[in-house]
Amino acid sequence: MFKKRKNIIQIVFILLGIVYIIKLFSLQILDSSYKLASRDNVRRRIIDYPFRGLIYDRNGKWLVYNTSVFDLMVVPRELKIKDTAIFCERFGLTKEAFIKKMTDAKAYSRAKPSAFMKQLSTTDFAKIQDFLVDYKGIYPQQRTIRAYPHHALANALGYIGEVSPKQLEKQTDGYYQQGDYIGINGLELEYEHYLRGKRGARYVMVDVRGVEKGTYKNGIYDTLSIPGANLTASVDLDLQKYGETLMKYKIGSVVAIEPSSGEILSIISAPSYDPNKLTGRNFSENYAALEKDSLVPLFNRPLMAKYPPGSIFKIAQALIALNLGVITPATTFPCNKALINCHHHPSPQDVSGAIQYSCNPFFYMTFKHILEQGKDPNKYQDSEIGFRKWYNQIRKFGFGQKLGVDLPNETRGAIPSNAYYDHLYGHLRWKFSTVYSLSIGQGEIGVTPIQMANLAAIVANKGFFYSPHMIKSIGNKGALPQYKVKHSLGIDKQYFKPVIDGMEQVVLGGTGMIAKIKDIAVCGKTGTAQNPHGKDHSVFIAFAPKDNPKIAIAVFIENAGFGASWAAPIASLMIEKYLTDTITRPRLEKYILDKKFYTPKGETEIQNKKLKPKAPAPAKKTPKPNAAVLKDSALLNEIPKPKALIFKDSIPVTKTPKPEVLISKDSVPIKKTDKPNAIIPKDSSGKNKKERRTN
């Protein structure tokens, strides 16, 4: 009975087997998505971060290095604490903080490590290291951050920070990932590609809880990280530090260049900040404070601030005139104060003497000769032709264009072109008399401190320059190729002799005698950049020694008055420091160090107490002790002339016919505002921000 049902049951068994085999065929062979899902389940990519390249100064001293910090990682599942009170005491935590950290960690994962205490320094870590053995589930994880064995050069070095979502979006090669560090400013940004090295990746397997379970496929996909290249900066750290000390409580810039190579020896933006502030765990806090600071310490003045250069511009004017043949070294002009205001000095002067005494009428005439060469009977047409020639020449000095410095946010400055004036006044509706203030470095010109230093280097080199740069060697491969290109101005060497002689005389017996150094032939030029909205800017450029110059320098102090008063002594001290490594004039040094152009925050009261009895209000009067030294340059012409508006030192100012247009043209950093100190900072801080965003 029912014996046949045996077969039916067996057929049912076989049918089920067939159904399963078919289902497995679709699952294992037809559908490949499970294969990927399985790989994604277990494979984790672990980034092997390379060491970021170090930066050395020209003498092999560390400018930037990496230091270890320790993150304490906690795995909540493994953590066993017998006595929470003792634990908190040992790790310096409050009980509330401990509970909060643990809640956060548990919320993230119970099995995966999360940061419990971040970026402990080696010393802090050493204090708790011994306790770690008592607690299962807490592991130290080493990380590296940037560190600086000094407090200088912050603006040029820049800083690194976590890559922003915007940068991640913009990148084309897909190198960066969330959480990566990237150079944000300064050399860190400029040389990011070299410093970062090459990241390695390790593939590991993890279990369902994310715990590592060994290498993936025996590591065949793993790549090793390659450390970043070490950079050798051309900066002399000692000179830099000395310069920053001198520039304390002053607002402005110092740029020193080695003329024969274009290497930047020192680049100071004052006020600055301690680079150590923008590394480690207080980054965001400190950054916010620096950004809010009204003195904008994050603004890199040497490259980003543009000023009317003042009388130092006369050097370029003299060279152009000589080169164009409109004057000869023997040409003299009388000091005709009817043309343009000047101070008392022997007259007439040739080009050397005019530089020595910074004679305004001489350069008025010189510029007139450049513009009005008689190529056309029409004065307007003649000026048009002459100005075009001048424009082509002045651009060769690097003015009005980027020098190609290896630092971010370099500004062009401004040199007005024919088109500019055509736009301003109309074609053929302007001539020499409209633009004559350019002759003495005023008017619609904007020059950055680094361009000023480059001018000194050009004269020192007698007609050529290398683009100023910070990095003289990447790894051991030398500087970038663009820094080995010699830029020739096409001005014959012979024309430099009278100019250099004049600059020597400036220091020996002219406007810049304060810069004189015993046994060193310093060639310099003072300038007092007229500032219609506040106190004039003090400018000095120089190079030394006269023969075979080793250093060219520009010092620019905002709202500090005459070039000779502050800029010249600072330049002189720095030259001496660099060339001899000694300071023979402690009184001059003290005079600089004691001077405060602004009251640092938090020191207001102390400052007032100190200053009230003795020194006059810092920004208003020339300090007494060195009044004698300053005599030469402190020549004030009291008689106002009808055409010139303000008279100070040798610097008159042209009445700018349409100031609104000027501002809108962004040619010079002058803005209508009542706060003298706010002029540059305000304008530039905004720009700084903007540029940082677009990095």
Binding site: F2, R5, Q10, G17, L24, L27, Q28, I29, V42
Partner: protein, 431 residues
């Protein structure tokens, strides 16, 4: 001596080979499933699952020896005693067992844990065989059916109380035994139809389904009633038939509407989730769909030839839950691929078919019914266990015989098989 020689000759060595092969291959897979590449543990390490399973295998060998030594008449004679003892044990277990993950089915004796439910299958198979094998007992009699239902129902009910739904469902496997003994195939078909209806209700809108069924019932019964127009025909059976069809439709509609109630009110939340994840496997693969998805990923990633022994990542890194017990097939699928899995399924089916053949060749009714019982139990486990890992059945936590890690189940399945092999070896004497 002669008896011994006969015994060695008569025992089915083919089945023993399957058994040994399954147990050893299963043991290797347990080792692979929990293998941790960072620890490099030996498969013989007694602290590991494979090491422990080895102990159970040894114990099984001992049990086999005992079974073969004991007189074959013992099992028939003591069937009810064994059944009674197991029922008693089940009740005791239910009372004293600690609550382990909601289940009260484990008897803890020191470091050893036993699950009497695994032995209840054996005892029930024995008792049913004993009863149905009795002289003059015919399954068609409703009294017989009632007694069979009681014999099945008592252990099933206790096991359900212990919250071992999976083990309880195994008792439904005996329907194959009853079918062999004369159960109407319509009842089997009705069972299958109910399951289809159940799944359809979950997949489709129940109102559409109900109206479809109603239309179908009316049309079919109407079609049958058309036969009334013929002359010279007995009217009564036609009307009965039509009413029967119509009644079946109404019952179906009632089932359709009660499915929702059954799913939401009778089933426990985790059981509801298992059914939902089966119907809609893509949904919530991080939550309720996790087990099924990871299981499919494990098997699917094995591709044609598999990742190789100890190379499966899904199982050993705990993505697949219960990878050494209920989901042991994932290891086979992942490490041996489609070829390995297919060979495994073929081997298992051949083994089951062989068991049916062995059962059928018994001259003794008791041995035959017991044999069918054994084959049915293995079949049910095989069908549900593999089916759940590949998404054909809802996840029901029952082991894969001889493969899954676990002492009670290995001992229970060994007991089932070797008692049958013992009976089979003496089939010529059993008359």
């Amino acid at each position: 001596m002669r008896g011994d020689i006969n015994f060695a000759k008569n025992i089915d060595w083919i089945t023993i080979c399957f058994y040994v092969g399954f147990v050893l291959f299963g043991w290797l897979n347990i080792y692979a499933a929990v293998y941790d590449p960072t620890l490099h543990m030996s498969p013989f390490n007694p602290a590991s699952r494979s090491g422990q399973q080895l102990i159970w295998i040894g114990l099984s060998a001992f049990v086999i020896l005992l079974i073969l030594i004991v007189d074959y008449k013992f099992y028939s004679s003591f069937a009810y005693v064994i059944y009674g003892a197991i029922i008693f044990l089940l009740i005791v277990t239910y009372i004293v067992a600690p609550d382990i993950k909601g289940s009260r089915s484990w008897l803890v004796l020191g470091s050893i844990r036993l699950q009497p439910a695994e032995f209840a299958k054996f005892a029930t198979a024995l008792a049913l065989a004993k009863y149905l094998g009795g002289i003059g007992v015919r399954f068609i009699q409703s009294r017989t059916q009632l007694i069979c239902a009681i014999l099945l129902g008592v252990p099933a009910a206790i096991i359900l109380l212990q919250n071992e739904t999976g083990s309880m469902l195994v008792f439904s496997a005996f329907i194959l035994v009853f079918y062999r003994e004369g159960l109407s195939p319509y009842i089997l078909l009705l069972g299958i139809f109910s399951i289809v209806l159940f799944v359809l209700t979950l997949l489709l809108d129940k109102y559409y389904l109900a109206s479809g069924l109603a239309v179908l019932g009316i049309l079919t019964s109407g079609f049958i009633l058309l036969g009334l127009r013929k002359k010279n025909i007995r009217r009564k059976p036609i009307i009965q038939k039509a009413l029967g069809v119509f009644g079946a439709c109404i019952i179906s509609i009632v089932i359709v509407f009660s499915v929702n109630f059954f799913v939401t009110d009778v089933l426990q939340p985790h059981q509801q989730a298992r059914i939902k994840s089966l119907i809609n496997p893509g949904a919530d693969i991080k939550g309720i769909g996790w087990n099924l998805y990871q299981s499919k990923v494990a098997i699917g990633s094995g591709a044609l030839t598999g990742k190789g022994f100890l190379q499966g990542t899904q199982t050993k890194f705990d993505f697949v839950p219960e990878q050494s017990t209920d989901f042991i097939f994932c290891t086979i699928g992942e490490e041996y691929g489609w070829i390995g899995s297919s060979l495994f399924i073929i081997a298992y089916v051949v083994f089951l078919v062989r068991l049916i053949s062995l059962a059928e060749r018994q001259k003794d009714k008791f041995a035959r019914i017991y044999g069918y019982g054994v084959a049915s139990i293995y079949f049910f486990h095989f069908m549900v266990n593999i089916g759940m890992t590949i998404g054909i059945f809802p996840i029901i936590g029952i082991p894969l015989p001889f493969f899954s890690y676990g002492g009670s189940s290995l001992l229970g399945f060994t007991l089932l098989l070797f008692v049958f092999l013992k009976l089979d070896a003496h089939r010529k004497q059993l008359l």
